[in-house]
Symmetry: C2
Subunit: 260 residues, 2 copies
């Protein structure tokens, strides 16, 4: 199981020839491979820094730097005195990393404390991917996809109508029953049941006028301004695995963002 690092591995430079990646990046790549292959599952501890240093034949400091960056990217979580763990969407800390809709009043800038959110599934169907969905998910048109629609109620108000598209091949057993029998974050289900961990996402926001169908679901007047959040979510190696369109009522809520 030991891996040997040599100068001369991986890395890509600007022009032509391949360059040499620093040891800590090679170490990082090996860790990423193990994570992707599921050697350690979400929530589990990875080996200690000393152990990894021995395995990879580098110093502890080098392993440390490799882990540092993975922890910064929310792939790993360090806990002093306990170890380093594979991040999981089932944990509370990670809960609000991807949900940026907040009630207007209470919390200042920090994460909302106990925001009573319930998710109601409307339907879950298997379809052939429309052109635009296929393009964004990097599938061929008409490849099988799963479409989920659900309503998020925050503070007992219907607030977000989500329309979620997933590659059919990757989410084979996904069904309406499976969804409604599961409580907890959707991404938690995905990582536990389908081995697909959402790593990062890009979002595009627009203001649009509610059409009749959406207005009805959200209990607002047709033509009301809605916040449209289009999200593309990626798993390891920058593979897009979820397209999501969220239609949000922002009369008592807002989308929160921090620029650093």
């Amino acid at each position: 199981m030991n891996e040997i690092l040599k100068s001369g591995a991986g890395g890509a430079s600007g022009r032509g020839g391949p360059t040499f990646a620093p040891l800590y990046r090679q170490t990082q790549a090996l860790l990423l491979r193990s994570l992707q292959q599921g050697e350690w599952k979400p929530g589990e501890a990875i080996p200690s820094e000393t152990e990894l240093a021995a395995r990879f034949g580098v110093s502890q400091g080098t392993v440390r730097k490799a882990i540092d960056e993975l922890a910064a990217g929310n792939l790993l979580v360090r806990r002093q005195g306990r170890g380093t763990f594979v991040a999981s969407h089932q944990e509370v800390r990670t809960q609000f990393r991807f949900l940026r809709i907040r009630p207007d009043e209470p919390a200042g800038d920090g994460a909302p404390t106990a925001m009573p959110t319930t998710s109601r599934f409307l339907d879950c169907r298997r379809l052939r991917a429309p052109v635009e969905v296929a393009r964004q998910l990097q599938l061929r048109t008409a490849e099988p996809v799963v479409q989920i629609r659900r309503l998020l109620e925050v503070d007992a108000r219907p607030t977000v109508l989500d329309e979620i598209w997933l590659p059919g091949a990757r989410f084979r057993g996904l069904s309406a029953e499976r969804l409604s029998s599961y409580s907890g974050p959707l991404y938690g289900l995905f990582e536990a049941e389908f081995g697909t961990r959402m790593i990062r996402a890009t979002e595009r926001l627009k203001a649009i006028a509610a059409d009749a169908a959406v207005a009805h679901e959200l209990d607002v007047a047709e033509g009301s301004p809605l916040l449209l959040v289009e999200r593309l979510t990626y798993t390891y190696e920058d593979v897009p695995v979820e397209l999501r369109r969220g239609y949000s009522v922002t009369t008592h809520h807002h989308y929160f963002n921090e620029l650093i």
Copy 2:
């Protein structure tokens, strides 16, 4: 000019008594103080790591870690072989850190290449702070503030109407002439002419219906859905120094965000 660090300085713990901050955090605090006091101006190089290590009486590795975090927070910029520089809003890299509106089509996820943006100033007035503005800027109601209104045109389309509020005391000589005679990013002017550097910002986004006045400026129909971006910008030590309300037309543009 030398500073001596001892165990026992700064830092705040959960309960009661003060705790000891690690050396690299104390170093960071000293660097921050120098930055805030303008010992090194935006765009200038700070002393080398070795030099700082000697000045603060710590090892180079400790200075390095202190700088690492400041660089991660975009306060400093490292350039291999050249030195470490105070970040500046006058540079091109920093340009799009705070402007998240992008044209729909061209660029993928990367920063837009040569997005033709022109800023037209509508007015610049000195007023007494309305309640809500005062609250957010942590001023007393009716304290003097500067209000700037401007129109951003992207790709020759009127796209964002900005309404900017600044504390009057901090921006004393700011006037319409000063603004129109200055080309370049607003934050560049603020840091160069008023010694106030914008460090981070929080934004709250909503979808709203355009009222008559805003609709007229943006050349859209009254009631059209607009993206409202309310930004609170902070300088050193988390002091809020700018409140901005941006009304964006998102028919051909969107607000881009990345979740990590």
